[in-house]
């Protein structure tokens, strides 16, 4: 099969049950239609799981590590790896399928994705399950499943260092899980290169279910491009687009940490388990303070001019000696503002533990916030919490909880199942403040005054997702960016239509912007169709009552609350625009056909 320019045409297919390693050739049509990364991932997942209700933690569920179509080329910020699999955390209200859950995709930066392409693959598909802990070693054509017993139980930070010692080459890139993934916490994450995480949707849990501690990759190759000269022109132009812009400067200085302050100012931050949108102490945990007190250095992903990752240390106080990124927007809100923690060093320690255990900080911050509120309201007592005094702002109690959850001990076992489970356990209307969609925790953005933020959460194909997009158009565009492997933050540094032009230069296929946007819609609809087949319906596209019933009491948006009528109207308009049935959310046959999804 002649592959398309710009691709190797091969996905590495590893079956951990049988030990079989296979070079799976990909139909060029799939590259054309689904591009790579998230898009190609969902197509491969769809092909692998031909029926609904497959247990996400069973050997059948493939774990897909997908670089994008731009990964492996020196294009600015094309560094992302999209992890695609069937989610172990999401669940529909009702379904005839026992293990019904959504797809999930989770995106991580660093160097891992490009290295997969350097090794000569357009992705890695891990199927089956090893009977004891293993890691996967890939060095171009040399692929080995190796024993990992001695690493089992190791935190991600220690493992990151120990693994390099084992492999003996600092140029090898790897991703791995921590104790949370090993212990099958449904919202465990995958981490690569010192705390860059594919955080959401329980990718680490699926990896743990396969007894797979890590994947290490080193490569010497690169795909070719169709229009070499044109590609070089676009490369040069793209590099220049980032130079000296205010946005570049802001990313470099504060990373996403700047949002800790402005999101709070505009009332959009998740504060006190989503009760408020403004945190009066946001300045104490924000990027400006971190730059002053903690951060030592800025770090970038592969060929990224933004360097939004920071690295620092806690210099003083009871948490002195902690070395870590410190606050980003999501981590700083979910383990900071959302828990009313204003102690930056303490919060940094909590974030370090979360990463070290391999927990999704967004989900775990949400769960702990929920428990804090339930405890504060007297719905649960100290006994339920195994004696952990989960008062608002108690950072040491939070650290204890992280340990409990990662090891699924006592209250940690219940908390590991997510807020939807806890709300059912606790009852007494606690579901009204359980901030999730389809069982997946909301992220660090509140939606009291922004109905489109609620739309973004409830319509996301992986359950609540803050990066999904606030309209159908944005969502299609996001799906595309995730498929090219370009960072969602950085893609705005490219000029309009640049990504489509680059696709064209790489593949020679003509990419009109219309064609390009259609691919985004196609990817989104295939994901949606997967979820629909599992049994997700309109009743699952809902969000906590809190946002409709409890107006903000402080900040610039004091009094803001969502209006149910308006929300339903907005949702109806959304389904109509999508060509989905507004009662069931089923994508129409016509629309699917127009998108080339006849096989659904």
């Amino acid at each position: 099969m002649k592959s398309l320019s710009g691709y190797h045409g091969v996905v590495l297919d590893v079956d951990l049950s049988s030990g079989k390693i296979n070079r799976k050739e990909i139909d060029p049509k799939d590259f054309r239609n689904f591009i790579g990364g998230r898009g190609l991932g969902i197509k491969l997942l769809w092909d692998a799981l031909r029926k609904p209700g497959v247990d996400p933690l069973s050997p059948e569920n493939p774990l897909l590590l997908m670089p994008g179509a731009f990964s492996g080329f020196p294009l600015p910020s094309a560094s992302r790896t999209c992890v695609v699999t069937k989610s172990p955390i999401t669940t529909p209200k009702k379904s005839k399928h026992k293990h019904a859950s959504t797809i999930t995709y989770s995106n991580m930066g660093g160097f891992f994705g490009p290295e997969i392409r350097f090794a000569g693959y357009d992705g890695i598909m891990v199927r089956g399950s090893a009977d004891r802990p293993v890691y996967l070693f890939i060095d171009d054509d040399r692929v080995e499943i190796r024993k990992a017993q001695k690493f089992w139980g190791m935190g991600t930070d220690e493992f990151d260092r120990a693994f390099i010692d084992e492999l003996g080459d600092r140029r090898i890139r790897s991703c791995y899980i921590g104790p949370a993934g090993e212990n099958l916490v449904p919202y465990a994450c995958i981490i690569n290169t010192t705390a860059r995480a594919a955080g959401r949707g329980g990718t680490g849990c699926v990896m743990g279910s396969k007894n797979l501690k890590a994947v290490a990759v080193r490569g010497s190759r690169q795909p070719d491009v169709a229009m070499h000269k044109r590609f070089l022109e676009l490369l040069e132009e793209s590099r220049k687009g980032f130079e000296g812009t205010p946005s570049t400067e802001n990313w470099r200085r504060y990373g996403t940490g700047s949002a800790l302050i402005w999101a709070s100012d505009i009332g959009a931050q998740a504060v006190k388990n989503y009760r408020e949108g403004t945190y009066i102490h946001a300045d104490k945990i924000g990027g400006v303070a971190a730059r002053r007190k903690i951060w030592q250095r800025d770090f970038a992903c592969f060929v990224c001019p933004l360097a939004c990752k920071k690295s620092g240390r806690a210099p003083l106080g009871p948490y002195a000696g902690i070395v870590h990124d410190g606050p980003e927007y999501e981590t700083g809100t979910m383990l900071g503002a959302n828990l009313l923690i204003d102690d930056m060093e303490g919060m940094m320690k909590a974030i370090w533990h979360g990463d070290d255990f391999g927990l999704d900080i967004i989900s775990v911050g949400n769960v702990i916030g929920f428990l804090m509120e339930a405890y504060d309201k007297g719905l649960i007592d100290l006994d339920v919490l195994d004696g952990i005094d989960l008062k608002w702002g108690n950072v040491d109690a939070v650290i204890q909880m992280l340990h409990k959850i990662a090891h699924r001990e006592g209250i940690g076992e219940k908390a590991s199942k997510g807020v939807h489970y806890l709300a059912e356990e606790i009852g007494r209307e606690s579901h009204k403040f359980a901030a999730h969609c389809k069982g997946h925790s909301l992220a660090a953005w509140n939606c009291h005054y922004r109905p489109t933020q609620a739309l973004c959460y409830v319509t996301a194909n992986r359950g609540a997702c803050h990066l999904n997009g606030h309209s159908a158009e944005d969502q299609n565009s996001t799906a595309l960016v995730d498929s090219t492997g370009v960072c969602l933050f950085a893609h705005r540094g490219y000029r309009e239509n640049a990504l489509a032009d680059i696709m064209e230069a790489i593949t020679t296929r003509e990419w009109s912007s219309e064609e390009y946007s259609k691919a985004g819609e196609r990817i989104y609809n295939l994901e949606k169709s997967f979820n629909f087949r599992e049994g997700f319906r309109r009743e699952d596209d809902v969000i906590a009552d809190r946002f409709f019933e409890e107006p903000l009491t402080i900040g610039r948006r004091k009094g803001a609350v969502l209006d149910r009528g308006q929300f339903e109207e907005m949702m109806n308009a959304y389904y109509a625009e999508r060509g989905w049935d507004s009662k069931t959310t089923q994508p129409s046959k016509d629309r699917l056909k127009a998108l080339g999804l006849d096989f659904v």
Partner: protein, 249 residues
């Protein structure tokens, strides 16, 4: 080729620090400025250009890394790969696609976060050339020699006996920039200085690399292995000892 050029590789350390008279004043001046502003892993290394290359005689030059500015993005690797491994497309020679595996500069990443770009430091006492056992030809060249135009280290594949002595000298005495090719054992990753316009310096988005023309930091002082540099930086930035038992968490 003038006699001076041909004889450059034979300079002793003593001769190095007593360069020919016409250059000496400017050389000393550069050394003073350099000494004042540059400390290895120091606080600030301004973007300086030392001197101007003379048309008639080649100027020594090197790439200097500011570890404080490096973010580990590896843009340098890709542009090095692009320039030094060009592609021929429809008979036209164009920049390559920038495979970092082909790069002569290499960034090594550590935990806690430190990134150390390693590139040939152009040691004037060139232990790599000294180690080459191949006899000098009529131009005074061994299988490893200095390019007469840029003074960068080059390998003559015709005469190289692939013994690996040059790479071994670099590994044991300097930075392990020059390495043997895993298949042929021929030395590779010698910095070419991109014909006088190093692409890594030009494209580094963070200004972490400088092309120092005429100045010289001293191979044995500046050219340390990545592990050693990282150890010092990690201690200084994070107050942590590298390796086992690091005071983490």
């Amino acid at each position: 080729m003038s006699e001076q050029e041909a004889s450059f590789p034979k300079l002793t350390i003593r001769e190095l620090f007593h360069p020919p008279l016409q250059d000496r004043r400017s050389f000393i001046k550069m050394m003073v400025i350099g000494g004042l502003t540059i400390t290895v892993g120091g606080v600030v290394i301004p973007r300086l250009r030392f001197g101007v290359a003379h048309a008639e005689s080649p100027q020594f030059s090197m790439i200097l890394v500011d570890f404080n500015k490096c973010t580990g993005c590896r843009t340098c690797e890709t542009v090095c790969g692009q320039y030094n491994h060009k592609a021929v497309v429809n008979g036209e020679q164009l920049l390559g696609l920038g495979n970092p595996y082909l790069s002569n500069i290499r960034v090594y990443s550590f935990n806690p976060d430190v990134d150390v770009p390693i590139v040939c430091v152009m040691c004037r006492d060139n232990p790599c050339i000294e180690a080459c056992p191949v006899e000098e030809d009529e131009d005074g060249r061994r299988a490893l020699y200095r390019d007469p135009k840029t003074l960068a280290i080059k390998n003559d594949p015709e005469r190289c006996i692939t013994c690996g002595a040059c790479a071994e000298a670099c590994r044991t005495q300097r930075v392990e920039a020059i390495v043997p090719n895993p298949k042929t054992n021929r030395p590779e990753r010698m910095c070419t200085l991109c014909d006088g316009d190093p692409q890594c310096v030009k494209y580094c988005p963070y200004g972490a690399l400088d092309h120092i023309v005429g100045g010289y930091i001293g191979g044995s002082h500046y050219g340390l292995p990545a592990e050693k540099i990282a150890k010092e930086l990690i201690e200084r930035w994070y107050g942590v000892k590298l390796g086992k038992g690091g005071a983490r968490g």
